[in-house]
């Protein structure tokens, strides 16, 4: 499309045309020219508000505060200071911006619902002040007689105001396309990720708040001269929702949404109120209908009709590809005396009674590929969170080269040269792949706070983004939104983003999880090639791969480092073997293996070709599974293959996209979780999920139903629970929580219990206790056990399945699995 063609379709131009036509059209319908001006003013009001809502994701009820305060400021300026209309408007706008700065500094420290409520409180406070400070503001009667010299004619004022408004809209357009504005959208989608790219998100949010206040202030000032007076009304809490409603009606994810919203709102109000004084009845119903049926507003309906599915907050860019291979521009990593680029000493962290880091000591040397391994729940991701600064540590020291970064905020650590990828994919759901990488690549640029230039006009950042996409291999998906990528592609995007900030130290958290074999190879080679130039700390579960890839390995277990050294040392370390495989001192060559049961038992649970996932990201692919009455069935597999997703699907929390789940002849594919539980399936979920604010006894009582265990039976199996009966859930240790979770599941009549890694993160002695209890369950119920500790499984299970990347790759007796080491290697990454 030619530049002229693009200019022709520019939204600001459209708005200008609408504003030009309205004052001529409206009087034909019985309205006035002033109404057209009001529509233009409220458009700007809505736009200013939407900068916070649609672009930055901040729900603020403070818009009406700035609107009202600016109105008063402009009115008072006109009355008490000489200088004319324009000066008063400038004063009003500036006042609002200053107020925005002060309020922003106070309020933006809080997030979520607290932020919103604080904005509401301030709005009310200002309303009270305006209403009661009669001497200054005229109180109930407001300010009257604000003159408009030179612009007395309604039409003249309309075009004066419209010109200012269109100019403001153009500035707004530039801002949202500039690097600054682009970052706001990323903050909306995932603020934590933006911080982890090195952006000072607080600064950006404050900037957005002040800018929003300024635009709204301009609108408020213009209103003063339109009605030639100021009233406290606009500050009342009922009007706090005005900009919110208009923007929702029009569409919060569309640039011109506020224009359509204000037209509808004002026109409707004007028309309906001439018929009845209860016009709000009709309007309120319309509004609620919109919220329920079309949350994307009028623009949403329009895009559905015209099949243009995307948001129009910014221009939808045609992307021009640039080819090349990534040449990393590196900062020389600062090195401390002992040659380490990152060192950790004496690190401690607890969450209540749960100790997640216990005197951790770690050293990352320059250019090495250092892996961090350990069973689930060992505290690896928590360690990464402390290294990047997302959670504070309770004690200890973290050094980056020579520098102590223990108390440094997140974005400063990133700027210093640290980068991180996340275990659970953390990207921007509603930004395109290209934009995601571009934002990351922009993070270190000196232009990142620019308010005026087009973000897509920086050739070097664009080129770098394309190179990153090529390096990881998802360049062909550049125009898709992050949320629509397949899981494997999201992982690759994660890595591209981590590389984009030119880090010297990379923290990679399970970058291979969920990838298909071929992709694993590729990514593993990529990581290996990055070492040398970068220093890499890698968390991975594929122990075999880790042993071949790494220069050095550290093993973490229950928050403590139990071994550090070269791969060969680690592989032979008995403590490491015990930590991974469960029972210490067990001779691996002669495990007690449970026998397979007779095959003519009645099927209890069957999964028939079940496919399930989250949105576009499908985790389970055509899974077939069967559990017979009285069996103990094990489900093995690496992290990320879909074991927990499987349990959630059986339990009804996640509904399959296709396939059937049948329990005792009843189809439970679409049943709700509570119905499924009442049919006899109980779950001990990942993370235990005991209720922290209830006592142990209350946790049990909550779940109890006739036919299940009594309290006495539960205490009999788990004596420790009796001792702790009155203790609140949050004060229990890991082992106690596990036992409580298991007992709680049995309080209801259960014929099948789903256990999701019940031994995760437990000390060996506790494991023995829990194992004994689980063994006793075998007599009362069938069991589906998800585990990684193969050794334990073999003692208990009659049959096992192995999952790989969302499908069943092996079904058979544990004995068969045990004898085939090659198979174990392939499927689990570790041999028993």
């Amino acid at each position: 499309m030619s530049d002229f063609g693009r200019g022709f379709r520019h939204p600001v131009l459209w708005a200008a045309v609408v504003f030009a036509i309205l004052p001529f059209v409206l009087p034909r319908f019985g309205s006035t020219v002033s109404l057209a001006t009001e529509i233009a003013i409220y458009t700007l009001y809505g736009l200013g508000f939407n900068l916070l809502l649609g672009y930055s994701g901040l729900v603020s009820f403070g818009a009406s505060a700035f609107f009202g305060m600016a109105s008063y400021a402009a009115g008072l300026a006109m009355i008490h200071m000489p200088g004319g209309v324009l000066l008063a408007i400038v004063f009003g706008t500036a006042f609002a911006a200053l107020l925005g700065l002060v309020l922003g500094l106070l309020i933006l420290r809080r997030r979520g619902i607290y932020f919103s409520l604080l904005t509401l409180a301030f709005t009310q406070l200002f309303y009270e002040i305006a209403f009661k400070w009669t001497d200054l503001t005229g109180g109930e009667n407001g300010l009257q007689g604000v003159l408009r010299p030179g612009l007395a004619d309604a039409m003249a004022y309309h075009f004066f105001a419209a010109t200012l408004i269109v100019a403001a809209m153009y500035i707004y357009w530039r801002i949202v396309h500039a690097p600054f504005g682009r970052v706001l959208q990323a903050i909306r989608d995932n603020e934590q990720r933006v911080q982890c790219l090195g952006y000072d998100t607080q600064g950006y949010k404050l900037g957005a708040f002040v800018l929003s206040a300024a635009f709204i202030g301009l609108a408020g000032s213009l209103l003063t001269f339109l009605i030639q007076g100021v009233y406290a009304d606009n500050l009342s809490w009922q009007h706090a929702g005005d900009p919110v409603m208009m923007t929702i009606l029009g569409g919060i994810h569309h640039f011109l949404g506020p224009l359509w919203g204000s037209m509808i709102y004002i026109a409707l109000r004007d028309q309906l109120s001439s018929y009845t004084e209860h016009w709000w009845l009709a309007f309120g119903t319309i509004l609620i209908a919109f919220i329920l049926l079309s949350p994307e507003g009028m623009c949403g309906i329009w895009s559905r009709l015209t099949r243009a599915p995307r948001w129009t907050l910014t221009r939808n860019e045609p992307l021009k590809k640039v080819s090349g291979v990534l040449q990393p521009q590196l900062r020389a990593a600062a090195r401390s005396d002992d040659g380490s680029v990152l060192s950790v000493r004496g690190l401690r962290k607890s969450f209540g009674s749960l100790v997640v880091a216990d005197d951790v000591r770690l050293e990352l040397r320059r250019g090495e590929l250092h892996s961090l391994i350990g069973p689930n729940g060992a505290g690896k991701t928590t360690l990464f969170n402390m290294l990047t600064g997302l959670i504070p540590c309770d004690g200890g020291e973290i050094r980056f080269g020579e520098r102590d970064i223990t108390r440094l905020p997140v974005h400063r650590r990133i700027t210093a040269g640290l980068a991180r990828s996340f275990q659970i994919v953390s990207i921007f759901r509603d930004l395109t792949v290209f934009e995601t990488v571009r934002i990351a690549a922009q993070a270190q640029s000196s232009h990142r706070r620019n308010l005026w230039r087009d973000a897509y006009g920086f050739a070097d950042i664009n080129a770098k983004s394309w190179m990153l996409l090529d390096t990881v291999g998802i360049a062909d998906r550049a125009a898709e939104t992050g949320g629509s990528l397949a899981h494997g592609e999201q992982r690759l995007l994660e890595i591209a983003v981590a590389l984009a900030t030119d880090p010297s130290v990379l923290l990679l958290d399970e970058p291979l999880a969920g990838l298909a074999d071929a992709d694993r190879e590729r990514v593993a080679r990529l990581i290996r090639s990055l070492a040398g130039q970068h220093s890499i700390l890698l968390i991975e579960h594929d122990v075999d791969r880790v042993l071949t890839l790494s220069d050095r390995i550290t093993v973490l277990h229950q928050g403590r480092v139990i071994a550090t050294g070269a791969p060969q040392e680690i592989a032979g370390n008995p403590e490491v073997v015990a930590a991974y495989l469960g029972c210490p001192g067990k001779a691996p060559t002669t495990p007690a293996i449970a026998a397979a049961l007779r095959t003519d038992r009645a099927p209890l649970l069957t999964l028939q070709h079940v496919t399930a996932g989250y949105g576009a990201s499908l985790i389970l692919h055509g899974v077939d599974l069967r559990i017979d009455d009285g069996e103990v069935v094990a489900l093995l597999g690496r992290n990320g293959v879909g074991k927990t997703t499987m349990l959630r699907t059986i339990m009804g929390v996640l509904k399959p996209v296709s396939g059937r789940v049948v329990f005792r002849g009843t189809d439970i594919t679409r049943a709700s979780p509570d119905r499924i539980n009442r049919l006899g399936i109980s779950i001990v979920p990942e993370g235990r999920r005991i209720f922290p604010n209830l006592s142990v006894q209350e946790n049990l009582q909550l779940a109890q139903r006739p036919g299940g265990w009594s309290l006495d039976e539960a205490y009999d199996l788990f004596p420790i629970l009796l001792a702790r009966a009155a203790a609140r859930g949050e004060s229990l240790s890991g082992g106690e929580r596990q036992m409580l979770a298991i007992a709680r599941a049995m309080m209801a009549p259960t014929s099948l219990i789903l256990l999701d890694e019940p031994f995760e993160g437990l000390a060996p002695t506790v494991v023995a206790e829990v194992l004994a209890a689980v063994m006793r369950l075998k007599d009362r119920t069938s069991i589906l056990l998800v585990e990684q500790k193969v050794d334990i499984v073999m003692q208990m299970a009659n049959r096992s399945y192995v999952m790989v990347n969302g499908s069943i790759a092996f079904e058979g007796t544990p004995a068969a699995l045990h004898h085939d080491e090659e198979l174990q290697q392939k499927l689990l990454g570790v041999a028993v």
Partner: protein
């Protein structure tokens, strides 16, 4: 002077307990359903108006039905509207209840008119009581006693009964509660009914103290937000402490600086939130931050 201050403090306690009653309903709905119920003040107003009509049509004694009627309306709204937005963006819940608040107020205006109605306390409760330096109306004492009894009963309900357990557990992890075989849909409806009924009771009790006008809902919802945020989301004790704090502050300010009476609670709210972001006794709930 002291007598004046003490009497005002007692008035403040009465006001405070009314605020607590409203705020607890809001807090329960918030905790369990995750919805900021902007329409809570409208249910408060409905309580007063239903009581008015019941009294005029059927007689004094039938006032007690009013909160029940409010609960029925509340549950009806939950089933038809609220259910559709659970699990969606929190903003939608905010907006729907906001729209609902204004809609209900408009309905009240249509049915009962825009003019305020007088609502006198029952004759048995008129007159004053003197306790030493404290002078207070008999009705206010009655309100104090009733609200304390209700709050105590509510506390017992939450702490000791199975249903209360479900509500407390569901506030932290509703999904887990459903995996234990409890039908959440029904629980949510009843919780919404309970929350709105509490607002309705407060409306009935407040009717003789404030005038029965359509805009009385604003006089309930804003203090309720303030109380809930100062006390801490989801904290029963917090709501009681902060409700009394706000009530007494407002009452004293009315006496000595009337113009600032309504503003003082917002100043309090701002101060507390800046110093203790989760309120005085609030706990850390990730989903609200």
């Amino acid at each position: 002077m002291t007598s004046l201050i003490l009497s005002q403090i007692v008035n403040g306690l009465v006001l405070g307990f009314l605020y607590v009653l409203i705020a607890i309903g809001l807090s329960i709905i918030f905790g369990m359903l995750g919805i900021v119920n902007f329409a809570h003040g409208a249910f408060f107003a409905l309580g007063a108006y239903f009581a008015l009509t019941l009294r005029n049509e059927l007689g004094d004694v039938w006032i007690f039905l009013a909160p029940l009627c409010v609960a029925v309306v509340g549950m009806g709204i939950e089933v038809t509207l609220m259910r559709r937005i659970y699990g969606k963006e929190p903003l939608l819940g905010l907006l729907i209840t906001f729209g609902l608040a204004l809609l209900i107020e408009e309905i009240i205006r249509t049915v009962w008119g825009t003019v305020g109605h007088p609502f006198n306390a029952p004759t048995a409760l008129s007159g004053f009581i003197e306790y030493g330096p404290i002078l207070v109306t008999r009705y206010r004492v009655a309100v104090l006693v009733i609200t304390v009894v209700i709050l105590f009963g509510l506390w017992l309900f939450l702490r000791r009964t199975p249903y209360g357990r479900i509500i407390r557990a569901g506030s932290r992890d509703a999904e887990m509660v459903s995996m234990l075989g409890i039908n959440l849909k029904r629980v949510f409806t009843l919780v919404f009914g309970l929350g709105t009924a509490l607002a309705g009771v407060a409306g009935v009790l407040a009717a003789p103290l404030w005038s029965v006008v359509p805009s009385m809902s604003a006089g309930a919802i804003m203090p309720a937000f303030v109380v809930v945020t100062i006390g801490g989301l989801g904290s029963f004790a917090g709501a009681v402490v902060s409700g009394l704090l706000v009530g007494v502050s407002v009452a004293l300010t009315i006496q000595f600086w009337p113009a600032a009476a309504t503003a003082v609670m917002y100043v309090l709210m701002v101060l507390v939130l800046l110093v203790r972001p989760r309120g005085l006794l609030g706990e850390r709930w990730e989903r609200f931050e």
